[in-house]
């Protein structure tokens, strides 16, 4: 009872799953659910779609667990599955998001005397993020929110390191620009 500093490693859990202990996979899901979920939510911009993509990715990873070459890097491998899965969902959610952004821009044009008081910065961030091109948003999130190295992102996305650096740079510039616009209403 109490608190123990305990952790079966990813490699150990993968080993157990491969040996037939399906329940061990639950520990991996639990371990990665929130962190991967964070990426999916910010990338896709829609909570339900994100959770669906996340659930789907976990199941896909389980099905193809035999193809995880380095179980100690299970997380990175799982990440790659999720990044790819978010790209396909992105197309569906993009339609919904464009509608949202249009509404937001319509609001911006209206005269609201108390808008300055109701300025919700977190909403502005979400809108700005949604306005980024998908590959800019992907690179920005993987680099700055998920803390991956450029080499790792290159592995996951198939893009070159210098192209990725450019995307991140553009993403930063555009976010700054969109947030400035949101202030000057």
């Amino acid at each position: 009872m109490g608190i123990h500093k305990v952790e079966p490693s990813d490699a150990e859990l993968v080993r157990r799953v491969r040996a037939g202990d399906t329940g061990a996979y639950g520990a991996l899901v639990s371990r990665y659910r929130n962190r991967l979920g964070r990426y999916a939510v910010h990338m896709i911009g829609d909570r339900e779609d994100a959770e669906e993509a996340l659930q789907d990715s976990f199941v896909r990873a389980y099905r193809s667990l035999a193809r995880c070459d380095d179980p100690s890097r299970f997380g990175a491998w799982l990440y790659g599955i999720l990044v790819n899965r978010c790209r396909t969902t992105g197309a569906r959610a993009a339609r919904r998001r464009r509608m949202f952004v249009r509404d937001a821009q319509a609001l911006d044009g209206a005269a609201h005397a108390d808008r300055a008081d109701r300025l919700d910065w977190t909403d502005a961030v979400d809108r700005a993020l949604a306005r980024l091109a998908p590959d800019y948003r992907e690179a920005f999130l993987l680099k700055h929110v998920e803390d991956l190295e450029y080499e790792e992102i290159a592995e996951l996305t198939g893009a070159g390191v210098s192209a990725l650096k450019m995307r991140v740079k553009r993403a930063r510039e555009q976010l700054q620009k969109y947030l400035r616009e949101a202030e000057h209403v």
Binding site: A116, D117, L119, D120, W121, T122, E183, H184, V185
Partner: protein, 203 residues
């Protein structure tokens, strides 16, 4: 230009969406405390967590507001004692230590004798008091250990004291026995090291 500056200032007073869990009156009172803390450059996350704790526990509005106000004040006191470079975790631990009865002087003394982060040392002090050790004994023990003990040693010290108390030792005595028994393997320091336990014969 001025309008933009005003908008920027207004933007600072943005509400954390987690506070939506509070009813409107409580929310605005808590938001006011959060804003003051922000202006005073105190950490706001502990204040928000305290409000959320109250919300989850269904506490009355007056209690939630009183709790966050008190916390903001205590964080200020902690910051005065620890200095402006103190990390958020250190400030929170210092608040616990102050509430346990440590004086600001004790906190400042700890700051002067131990390399940061002080989080664990302050926490252990507070936790010892929570186990029943008198505040001055707990402070003396932690200050004695502070210069040389690692965080893990301090945790082990606290556990050892708690075990002794659980076995029936009076808390103050348990603390000095553990300290004097050299229960910890602290390497001897150069020249005068107030942290080295001294052996004393006990009646």
């Amino acid at each position: 230009m001025i309008l933009a500056a005003l908008l920027l200032v207004t933007q600072v007073a943005v509400q954390d969406p987690r506070l939506d869990r509070l009813d409107p009156d409580t929310r605005s009172a808590v938001a006011a405390v959060v804003d003051s803390a922000r202006v005073a450059r105190l950490p706001i996350e502990p204040i928000i967590q305290r409000a959320l704790e109250g919300a989850t526990k269904g506490a009355p509005s007056t209690r939630i507001v009183a709790a966050v106000r008190k916390l903001a004040v205590d964080l200020g006191t902690a910051r005065t004692a620890l200095g402006t470079s103190a990390a958020e975790a250190e400030l929170e631990a210092a608040v616990a230590a102050l509430r346990a009865g440590a004086t600001p002087e004790v906190i400042a003394h700890l700051r002067d004798t131990r390399r940061p982060p002080l989080t664990m040392a302050l926490s252990v002090l507070a936790d010892l008091v929570a186990s029943g050790v008198p505040a001055d004994s707990a402070a003396a023990a932690v200050l004695a250990l502070a210069p040389k003990a690692r965080d893990a040693d301090l945790v082990e010290f606290r556990r050892a004291v708690e075990r002794d108390i659980a076995l029936g030792a009076p808390p103050g005595a348990a603390t000095s026995v553990r300290l004097n028994a050299g229960a910890l393997d602290i390497p001897p320091g150069p020249s005068s090291n107030p942290g080295t336990p001294t052996r004393r014969s006990r009646p």
